[in-house]
Symmetry: C2
Subunit: 413 residues, 2 copies
């Protein structure tokens, strides 16, 4: 008999009908002999509705009170799912974050989980009950209601699974797993049966936004077996693993990309210590997140400094950079908001040379010019012209044989 | 510096605009130098919306889960009012029933308050904060969310006031006080500056539904000074007192009435012990509440048994009575659902004879036939034909001089 933690997102509990569907699914898992803990989000759209309600009363609602208000969202869905389960003859108990004592710090709106008192949950499970827990919310040491921030329900589920040493934490979403790349661009894209945490993190942060990043980090920390599944169709989904045995890991797991990038360059900066930090400090002060950074030393004692940022911040970043260029007596500032980032990801590449050159050659064969390169242990990213996005992703997907079943990428070294 | 507990009902917090109005009123009371605790209901209509939502998932929602769902109603309004207060520069803190630890028994949906831990409230008041508490809800010994049932927010306010030994518990409603009778029937009806708990109970139970009865009983038990005021207009409202000094009490405080009555009679029942209980037991089993009961012994060794019930239960009660009549070999069953009850109320009548005769004479002068009479220490009720309701109430209001200022009713003995 396994202990499963299942988490259903806002779309999965968006209406009484969908809550009934979730109830049936939970009842089936229980009938199969599993102990069941279910973590729920608020109905999709509800959190935004509550935020608008708050703003209608106070344009800058105090964080403590906003958390009190937002917490009603999951309190509603946990009660409704418990009712639906009981109607089907499945004994169930709902718990708010406060009731099941999901202890957090007091950073309202972005609180971090410090601990969970699992006694009540274990008692209920022993009595054969399904335990339905409100995601996204907790309680601080003083008994104040806190929320974990957007996507926090995933984190709640992982934390519950860690506390209960669950056999699996199953995250039900509107996709049926993690893919080698976006199937809308590459029809041959393949659902991965398994993916490592590190790969998952890279895939999630680069656009394949299946899971909230913090929850994946959390799962990695406590080695919680995490599975992503669809709440609308049957299937095994994708299991997130923590294996370090690279012999079994595929060389490359997937191709990620990011359409929302812009590139900014400050040219001919006199090359002296502190230049990079001077530029980045000005950008950071404006709350602009920087992604890739490249700096090259030129022939004439000056340097070119290039970075990418979110496309929405492009204009603001350009203005700041022009100001900084004046201060630094740089030659000029140029930018381009028609670029994208494409990344090849895989823990297997750590110990294998030749991945980078294969990637660059593949793009060159297609006539795609690489504007920037950035690498990490399990990822190689390039910046290319926006118009080459689909072509580049498809070419790389095929070059690394991702349409074929893992773990033996054709290119394995 | 006084400590005030103010309670605002669903209509008073029915929209962001109205919540702003409440915030201004609370801020004014605080600016006048008072320590403020505010108890709120859910937005008007919200509880019904949530019940319908529950029923869409489970036609008979389990009571524990229904309470979890319903409790979100006040959690929403307390957060919003606190936000509105903070926007106006008034420090405020919201607390759910569970957070401020309104301990109740575990009778979900109709829980009774057992105690309140007032430490957090006192701490906040000391820090100059307005404390905003969710009405209607509490928590049982095991940490389960409970609700007190309809109108329970009044009870929460009174319980808070009792626990804090507040100087006054002010119940804001959509009427500006307790009247000598319904002003829609008697334009001369006068707002009472003061009314005793007993009178209030009779007035409330007979149709002048200003306050929830349980809250008034509760206030009486703990001698909480209770005041009813309008949340829409300024005014002193009506103070509910516990004075026993009848010399100061007016003879008659008001005329109450109830349109929703029906009268049922079982005639010619063989008069032997146990008849009354036999009849009432059958009625009670069908969950029908009986109001007035009259039994007369006839000449032929049989008895006539008459009672009144809510008009909605009339048909069901008639059916049961016909069945019982057969068992008891009674002569016949007759009924009338076109009757009303009119009551004269006043603690002053306890020690004064002649009130009843004046009441009956007044009705007789108007040609109104009295069908049933029932009396208690502070109330005389009669049942008359429905069409005489307005005439009877007006005649009695005038006969007892209720349009003139208390305490000296013209008729004082």
């Amino acid at each position: 008999m396994a202990l499963l933690v299942q988490k259903y997102g806002g779309t999965s509990v968006g209406s009484p009908e969908r809550i009934n569907t979730v109830a049936k699914r939970v009842a089936r898992s229980r009938a199969a002999g599993n102990d069941m803990v279910v973590v729920l989000s608020a109905m999709s759209g509800e959190t935004d509705r509550l935020i608008n309600l708050a703003r209608s009363v106070n344009p800058e609602p105090p964080a403590r009170e906003l958390d009190v208000l937002l917490a009603t969202g999951e309190q509603t869905t946990i009660a409704l799912l418990s009712m639906a389960l009981e109607r089907d003859g499945v004994p169930a108990r709902s718990y708010t974050g406060s009731q099941v004592h999901i202890l957090t710090d007091n950073a309202h709106g972005k609180a971090r989980i410090l601990g969970i008192d699992d006694k009540r949950v274990r008692d209920d499970l022993k009595k054969g009950r399904v335990v339905v827990v409100a995601g996204f919310q907790g309680v601080d040491e003083e008994g104040n209601i806190t929320t974990l921030g957007r996507g926090g329900s995933d984190t709640t589920a992982v934390a519950m699974a860690a506390a209960l040493k669950a056999d699996e934490c199953q995250i039900y979403t509107d996709v049926d797993g993690v893919y080698t790349t976006d199937p809308r661009i590459v029809p041959e894209a393949r659902r991965l049966d398994r993916v490592t945490v590190e790969e998952m993190l890279e895939l999630a942060s680069l656009g394949a936004k299946v899971l909230q990043i913090r929850s994946v980090e959390f799962a990695g920390k406590y080695k919680v077996p995490l599975r992503v599944l669809s709440s609308f169709e049957e299937g095994p989904g994708t299991l997130i693993t923590y294996e370090e045995d690279e012999m079994e890991a595929p060389l490359i797991s997937g191709i990620a990309f990011n359409r929302d990038e812009a590139k900014l360059t400050i040219r001919g900066v006199p090359d002296r210590p502190g230049i990079a930090s001077h530029i980045l400090e000005a950008i950071a002060k404006a709350n602009i997140n920087v992604d890739m950074i490249v700096q090259n030393v030129g022939a004439d004692g000056t340097t070119d400094f290039t970075f990418t940022a979110h496309r929405a911040d492009y204009k603001k970043a350009m203005d700041i950079l022009r100001l900084v260029a004046g201060q630094l007596k740089a030659k000029e500032v140029v930018g381009d908001d028609k670029i994208v980032k494409i990344s090849v990801i895989g823990v297997g590449m750590r110990s294998h040379a030749g991945i980078a050159s294969r990637m660059f050659q593949t793009l060159a064969d297609e006539g795609i010019n690489i504007q920037m390169i950035s690498t990490s242990e399990i990822k190689i990213s390039v910046v290319v012209e926006e118009k080459y996005l689909e072509l580049g992703v498809r070419a790389l997907h095929s070059a690394f044989g991702l349409e074929k079943a893992a773990p033996n990428n054709a290119q394995r070294g």
